[in-house]
Structure formats: structure tokens, C-alpha cells
């Protein structure tokens, strides 16, 4: 065995101590969904005004409601869009109207109110079919 080979072999024998194992644990194979916990508080009109996109949708509604966007203007008007599962593929729905906030209830102008809470750059809206966490976004 030449000197170079011997050195390589010795280096290889010592390498395990230098390189940490990199096996993915079976419990950690799935993509993690947990994000930093948010501290929710009653929303104010200033919290609501702005452009939001859904960060998560949970509940029965989530089966068909894939993504949601809301643009709440400070003048009390709003526009919304949602990617909704249609008969064979997802389709967009859009709507617009006026919004008001009173006693922690967001009224989107259709006679139904949704409890709304706010955290830093986030809103949480609750509906009959689930909960939507909205994340503030900016126009690109």
C-alpha cells in the first residue's frame, strides 16, 4: 500500500467523527406546516385595510377553497378573489362590496358577519365552513 493510499484510508477512518449523520427521521419526512405562533387580538380597521392572501385554510371549506385574496380599502370598499374547485378544475371567483368592522365582526356586505382577529401582518377570518388565515402581501 503506497503512502498516499494509506493516508487516504486513515483520513477515511477518521472522517465519521467529522461528518454528522444526515438521515431524515421517519417522523420528519413530511413537509412541515407549522409556522411561528401568532398572537391574536381583536382587529381594528387599520388591521383590516390592505391586501391579503390566504396563508392557510382549514375546515370543510378548505376542500374546495384553495386560495383567497382580499383587498380591503380604507374607504370601506373591498374586492376579493378565490380559487375554487369547480366541476373538473379550479376556477376563480371574484366579488366586491363594502366592509365594516364592528365588535370584532367583519361584515362583507352580504348580511353575514365573520369574526375577525388580527396578529402582526395577519388576519384570521372565521366562517361557517372553516377558518382562513390571511397574510398581508404587497403588490409586486
Amino acid at each position: 500500500m503506497s503512502r498516499g493510499t494509506l493516508l487516504l484510508a486513515l483520513a477515511a477512518l477518521g472522517a465519521p467523527a467529522c461528518i454528522a449523520p444526515s438521515v431524515v427521521q421517519s417522523s420528519g419526512r413530511a413537509v412541515a406546516l407549522d409556522s411561528a405562533p401568532l398572537e391574536w387580538r381583536p382587529a381594528t380597521p387599520d388591521d383590516v385595510a390592505g391586501l391579503f392572501e390566504s396563508a392557510s385554510i382549514e375546515g370543510e371549506a378548505a376542500a374546495a377553497l384553495w386560495r383567497v385574496w382580499y383587498a380591503f380599502a380604507a374607504d370601506g370598499t373591498y374586492s376579493g378573489a378565490a380559487l375554487v374547485l369547480g366541476e373538473t378544475h379550479p376556477v376563480f371567483q371574484t366579488l366586491s362590496g363594502s366592509w365594516t368592522l364592528s365588535d370584532g365582526q367583519l361584515d362583507l356586505g352580504d348580511g353575514q358577519t365573520a369574526p375577525v382577529a388580527a396578529a402582526e401582518d395577519h388576519l384570521r377570518l372565521e366562517g361557517d365552513g372553516g377558518v382562513v388565515i390571511l397574510r398581508r402581501c404587497r403588490v409586486q
Partner: protein, 390 residues
């Protein structure tokens, strides 16, 4: 008899026969004609009428046959048109029924809202009247020397004349004060429909555990990888470049399931660049870009429809490095809070089975031939599977 007499009789008989023959020839001679005709004569006289009649009958038969065939074509066209019309009508009816269902759901929502408002109004009215009655009761009790009267009987015990409260309001208050009456003649409030959600209209029952549905793997939320053992240390290779589609009824996974999951072999990451390079040399992603599992059948070991969980063995064909082999993978699936299907599964494979020589450096650092292939997928339903495609 003498010979002479016999001869005489015989002669008379011969004479009689001869006479009869002559008479017959005379009678039939002008009635029977025997003609021997040459071919030229036949051509000159024209075609045989019987042959002409036979030809005409044959032509007529052909025409009738052609007419029959034409009629059959027309009847088929008519049948097809009627079928098409029926299908169109069926579609129209389905669309109309879907519209009616949507209207019914909206109506139920409004009715539920009205019921809630009515209940709220009754409660407010009951509270107001109870306060009023309490005031009157307090006055009456003071007049009676402080004797207490149960509050519950006040509305019925005290006359409301002169208070400005109409009988209708009084009746409403009675209903509000009596929980039994509150739920009495009024129909139970319908379950809130999930059609309307934050002002959007979404289909109800988009996800059903016990229904054959199409699913699409979500690449950003899915991973495929392997775990390998080596003399140096164990490691995993992972990729999120995953895609796939499949069809399944989660409550009856053995029925009509199937699909595929595909990952880009060049995107596998072991966390060590030099090791990734060695792996790519072995997997040759330029020639064999995909790792692919074609799912063909499922043997369920447990199905819990209430908890929306299913487990079992998925069988199919695995293609690695361009080599395809049958495999069986243990799989468990459940439904997460966002109504996505979360699937995890794993199986053991031998690298050498797929033409991949386990890497070895200097004979000292070597990777074992056996590796664990695993999947951790999330998939979203695309709706019911087309039954006709089964």
C-alpha cells in the same frame, strides 16, 4: 276353342287397335306441334319473356333490399338523434337541478338567518317584558308587604292591561318564556349550508372519504426520498420536485385505484455536494431523469372512515435508473385540517436490482446495496373521478 276361332279373334283385336291409333292420330295431329329452332331463330325472335320476368323480379328484389338498407340507415340516424336529444335534455335537467339545489341552499341559509334573528328578537322581547314584569312585581310586592312572588309566574299572573303591550307581543313573550313552546310548532333550523363562505360560493361536499375521487400531488408540500447506510455514516437523499396524479376511493381503496408519482432524480439532495455528485454519476439523470412509481392496486389493512384514515400495501411498478421492477409499499393516509390527503409510505429496494452499483471509495467507504425508499405526499382532490373512465 278351335284354333281357327282364336285366329279370328286375334285378327279382330289387331284391327281394333289399328283403328283406335288412326283415330287418335287424326284428333291430336292439329294440336301438337314439335318445332326444332336454331339459335339464329331465337335471336331473331327476341328474349324469353319468362327470363325477362325473372330479371324484373330480381331487380325489384334488389331495389327492395337497397330500400331496406337505406331505411335502416335512416332509422339508425333517427335513433341517434333521439338518443342525443335525450342526453341533451338530461344535461339540461341536471343543470336545472343543480341551480335549484344552489337556490335551495341559499334559501336555507336565509331561513337559518331569519330563525336566528327571530330567536334573538324573542329573547330580547322576553328580557324586556321580564324587566317590566319585575318592576310591576316589585310594586305589587311592596303593596303586599314585601311578599315575594316567583318571577317565572309573573307574566301569567299579572294583567298587562294599560301597559301598552299588545296581545301579539304578549303571546310572543309567552313563547320566549317557555322553552318548550319555543321549539314547538316552528320547524327546526336547518343546518347552515357551507355553500357560502366569506361571501364566496363554494361547492358543498367537495371532499368525501367514501367517494372515488381524483387527487393531485402538491409539489411544494410533498417529498420523496431514500435512506441509505454506509460504512462512513447513514444518510438520506430528499427531493421536493415531486408530481403525480391518482384516483382512489379512500373508504374502498381496493376499488379502481391507480395513478403515479414522479420525482426528478437530479434534484435528490443528500446534504453533501460531493456525495450528490457521486449519486448523480450513478443515477445518470441526463439519461434517466425520473424516479417513478406507477400505482396499480391497494390491499387495505385498515380503513377508519370516521377518522378518515386508511392503511395498507400499495402495489405497482417502480422505475429507477431506467429499470422497472414490481414493488409493494406500506402506506398510511389520512386527511389533514385543510382537507388535503397526507400519505406516507416506504419500501426496501436493492440498488443493484435497478442497475445502480452501490458506491464504494477505496474499498473502505461503501454504501449498502439495500436502501429504504419513502414518500411523504400531500394531495388535493380535484373532484369526483369520471366513472366512465374506470
Amino acid at each position: 276353342m278351335t284354333p281357327k276361332l282364336r285366329m279370328s279373334i286375334l285378327a279382330l283385336a289387331l284391327l281394333a287397335v289399328a283403328g283406335i291409333s288412326v283415330a287418335a292420330l287424326v284428333n291430336l295431329g292439329d294440336k301438337v306441334h314439335v318445332t326444332i329452332q336454331s339459335e339464329e331463330d331465337a335471336a331473331r325472335r327476341g328474349p324469353d319473356p319468362l327470363a325477362l320476368v325473372a330479371a324484373d323480379v330480381g331487380a325489384a328484389r334488389d331495389e327492395v333490399r337497397a330500400l331496406g338498407e337505406g331505411l335502416a340507415d335512416r332509422l339508425q340516424l333517427l335513433h341517434d338523434a333521439l338518443e342525443g336529444g335525450a342526453t341533451e335534455r338530461e344535461r339540461s335537467l341536471e343543470a336545472a337541478i343543480a341551480g335549484l339545489r344552489a337556490e335551495l341552499a341559499a334559501l336555507r341559509t336565509r331561513v337559518a338567518e331569519d330563525a336566528r334573528n327571530a330567536a334573538s328578537s324573542r329573547a330580547e322581547l322576553g328580557t324586556a317584558l321580564a324587566r317590566l314584569a319585575e318592576g310591576r312585581h316589585a310594586g305589587a310586592a311592596a303593596d303586599a308587604g314585601g311578599a315575594e312572588v316567583p318571577a317565572a309566574v309573573v307574566p301569567a299572573a299579572l294583567p298587562l292591561a294599560g301597559t301598552g303591550i299588545t296581545p301579539e307581543v304578549e303571546a310572543a313573550v309567552a313563547i320566549a318564556a317557555d322553552p318548550g313552546l319555543e321549539a314547538g310548532p316552528e320547524a327546526p333550523a336547518p343546518k347552515p349550508a357551507t355553500k357560502g363562505f366569506l361571501s364566496f360560493k363554494i361547492p358543498s361536499q367537495a371532499f368525501a372519504f367514501d367517494r372515488r375521487q381524483r387527487y393531485s400531488v402538491l409539489p411544494n408540500l410533498s417529498r420523496v426520498g431514500f435512506d441509505a447506510r454506509s460504512t462512513l455514516h447513514d444518510f438520506s437523499g430528499v427531493t421536493t420536485s415531486v408530481e403525480g396524479d391518482f384516483t382512489a376511493n379512500l373508504a374502498r381503496p381496493a376499488e379502481g385505484c391507480g395513478g403515479f408519482v414522479r420525482a426528478k432524480s437530479a434534484s435528490l439532495d443528500t446534504g453533501l455536494e460531493a456525495r450528490d455528485e457521486s449519486m448523480r454519476e450513478l443515477l445518470e439523470p441526463a439519461k434517466h431523469p425520473d424516479l417513478r412509481f406507477d400505482w396499480e392496486s391497494f390491499e387495505a389493512s385498515s380503513v377508519d372512515a370516521a377518522a378518515q384514515k386508511v392503511a395498507g400495501v400499495a402495489r405497482g411498478r417502480l422505475t429507477v435508473h431506467g429499470v422497472t421492477k414490481p414493488i409493494a409499499m406500506t402506506v398510511a393516509a389520512t386527511v389533514d385540517a385543510s382537507k388535503r390527503l397526507a400519505i406516507e409510505g416506504q419500501t426496501k429496494i436493492r440498488l443493484s436490482d435497478y442497475g445502480v452499483k452501490p458506491p464504494s471509495k477505496l474499498g473502505l467507504i461503501s454504501v449498502e446495496d439495500e436502501a429504504t425508499l419513502w414518500i411523504a405526499l400531500r394531495a388535493r382532490t380535484l373532484g369526483p373521478a369520471d366513472e366512465a373512465a374506470r
